[in-house]
């Protein structure tokens, strides 16, 4: 938290002065209420292709609700979500996934009834033959592509540092490993846009640093990333742009240095009235 108030750290944070790509995700006047309470209100922002774009804000600011709205888990009460040039507001998550959007969850959503590798293989769903008859009769083509998917999933598990868990039951894995398993599963879908909801929450410093590296690598491969994270060191260190939320509304937006210097953001975090 003191990251925000420490100008020195904020200054050397983040690669600046890079040219923003075309918009991949555009959120326009988005709002959502739950029983009369506004969780997200009139929120607009744009995520440029290739960026690591972080969403920050105190607890209850609406970050996870925003993720749920963007990925189609919740339907917006108002406003639009444009992804890759198309209006996708209110579309089902699986349709958005087919368009190239994938995510992880703050509260783990692991398939605990499967092995770790199978979890990641489910991530390959969109790239596999999921018809009934080929599955029932085990067509050779299906078998071949399935074993390719197995290799790819194992590769991805290696990339997030889970090689030793290939055959483990997901239910037997430690928390930190499951956080990474979610990232591997999301990556297996080969998304254009990856939304990560607190990937470092509950991890120790070393594990956080590893996640940090994973995110950078993924971004370097051309995947656009929207990141919700409380670890300010991580956010300041890897984000290209940051949108700060409070009470469901946009408080500030800009480079890490700009946002860190914004007095309203500092006040929101420290609990003072802005």
């Amino acid at each position: 938290m003191n990251m925000l108030t420490d100008p020195e750290l904020a200054a050397d944070a983040a690669p600046l002065n890079r040219r923003a790509g075309p918009a991949l995700l555009r959120v326009e006047h988005l709002s959502r209420e739950f029983g009369g309470v506004l969780a997200i209100g009139d929120l607009s922002f744009t995520v440029a292709a290739g960026d690591i774009h972080s969403i920050i804000g105190p607890n209850g600011a609406g970050k996870t609700t925003l993720f749920n709205l963007v990925t189609g888990v919740y339907k917006p009460s108002g406003g639009r979500v444009l992804f890759d040039g198309a209006d996708v507001s209110g579309q089902a998550p699986y349709r958005l996934a087919a368009r190239g959007m994938s995510r992880t969850f703050q509260n783990l959503q692991i398939f605990f009834n499967m092995t770790a590798l199978e979890n990641v293989m489910v991530g390959r769903h969109l790239h596999l033959d999921t018809r009934l008859l080929p599955a029932l009769f085990r067509f050779p083509s299906l078998k071949r592509r399935d074993s390719e998917a197995r290799d790819r999933a194992a590769e991805l598990m290696g990339a997030v540092g889970l090689s030793k868990y290939l055959d483990a039951d997901a239910a037997s894995m430690p928390y930190g490993a499951l956080k990474r398993l979610e990232i591997a599963r999301a990556l297996a879908a080969e998304p254009k846009l990856l939304l990560l909801d607190e990937p470092a929450a509950g991890l120790n410093a070393t594990e956080s640093r590893e996640i940090d590296e994973v995110i950078k690598t993924v971004a370097a491969d051309g995947v656009t990333i929207v990141l919700v994270e409380h670890d300010m060191k991580m956010v300041m260190g890897i984000s290209h742009r940051i949108t700060a939320l409070n009470h469901g509304r946009k408080l500030a937006e800009g480079t890490p240095a700009e946002v860190a210097a914004n007095p309203e953001v500092v006040a929101a975090y420290l609990g003072a009235a802005p």
Binding site: F34, T64, N68, V73, Y74, F105, N107, Q109
Partner: protein, 291 residues
């Protein structure tokens, strides 16, 4: 024309009152333990059989009902303690099988104790029909509806006015929080089974003169009670009562105007139609799943 309608309504409300008690029983247990107790119908059967056989052997009716009620409560507590509590973390379907196992077990015991034949219980206040605007009604119907009304009001007071009742409500809202403020949630589960068993047994006793008693009487009554509870929204007490009355009346109307052969299907057609549009029943909570 009107008399006919009234006649159907009256008989519908009578049987609906029993469904309401059974539905309330499902809801109370569901609230305390998130278990659907498929042995609920057997509590009704125990109440009906006990009062019929005990009065036949000379026990005064009130005492017979009391014994039946106490027996059902004991059985309920035993089922909760030795089957349900031990399988707390099992899946929904596993718990369903456990309570179905309990119901098979209880029917088996009942057959052994009371035999397979129908038992007759005399109506509490004679069988001279009461005339009401062209419709006639058995006095026993008044007993059924009256007893159900008293029990339902009593349950309402219990949950809203007494400390035990409030503790049970609190447990249903948040088991962990209830545990943290010192509520013994295990005892709450036991109490919920005892309470539901009592409701069922008294219902069984008052309805016995109308339906006769036999060891399988609880099967359909239990399923209809489950329907009532789901119709009202699982865990919603007043909803279960409303659900029971709706099912009872609809059934009577269906049997009267459409087809008596399809009487038992009416409840299930209604529940399917309602769930189609209201997946949490008529009064159930509509929530957005948190992820």
């Amino acid at each position: 024309m009107f008399a006919e309608l009234l006649q159907y309504m009256l008989s519908g409300l009578t049987i609906g009152a029993i469904y309401a008690l059974a539905g309330l029983g499902f809801s109370i247990i569901y609230n305390a333990s998130h278990v659907i107790n498929f042995a609920q119908g057997e509590f009704i059967m125990i109440g009906g059989m006990a009062s019929a056989t005990l009065t036949a052997s000379g026990v005064p009716l009130p005492l017979a009902i009391l014994i039946g009620c106490g027996g059902a409560m004991l059985v309920g507590v035993l089922v909760a303690k030795f089957a349900v509590e031990r399988a707390r973390n099992a899946s929904t379907v596993t718990l369903i099988i456990i309570t179905i196992g309990a119901s098979i077990f209880l029917r088996g015991v009942a057959e052994l104790v009371w035999g397979k034949d129908f038992k007759r219980l005399d109506a509490f206040s004679g069988e001279t029909p009461i005339q009401l605007m062209g419709a006639s009604m058995q006095p026993q119907s008044l007993w059924v509806v009256g007893c159900a009304a008293v029990l339902i009001v009593a349950i309402g007071l219990f949950f809203n006015r007494t400390l035990t009742g409030k503790a049970m409500l609190a447990t249903s809202h948040n088991r962990l929080a209830a545990q943290l403020v010192g509520i013994d949630v295990k005892r709450v589960v036991l109490a919920s089974f005892a309470l539901s068993a009592a409701l069922g047994a008294i219902g069984g006793a008052v309805v016995a003169p109308i339906t006769f008693s036999y060891t399988e009487m609880g099967i359909m009554l239990g399923l209809k009670g489950f329907t009532a509870a789901v119709l009202g929204g699982l865990g919603h007490g007043p909803g279960a009562v409303a659900g029971g009355l709706i099912v009872g009346v609809a059934e009577a109307l269906g049997a009267g105007y459409l087809s008596s052969a399809y009487k038992d299907a009416v409840a299930f057609v209604i529940i399917l139609a309602v769930l189609l549009f209201m997946p949490n029943g008529l009064f159930g909570k509509r929530g957005t799943e948190r992820v």
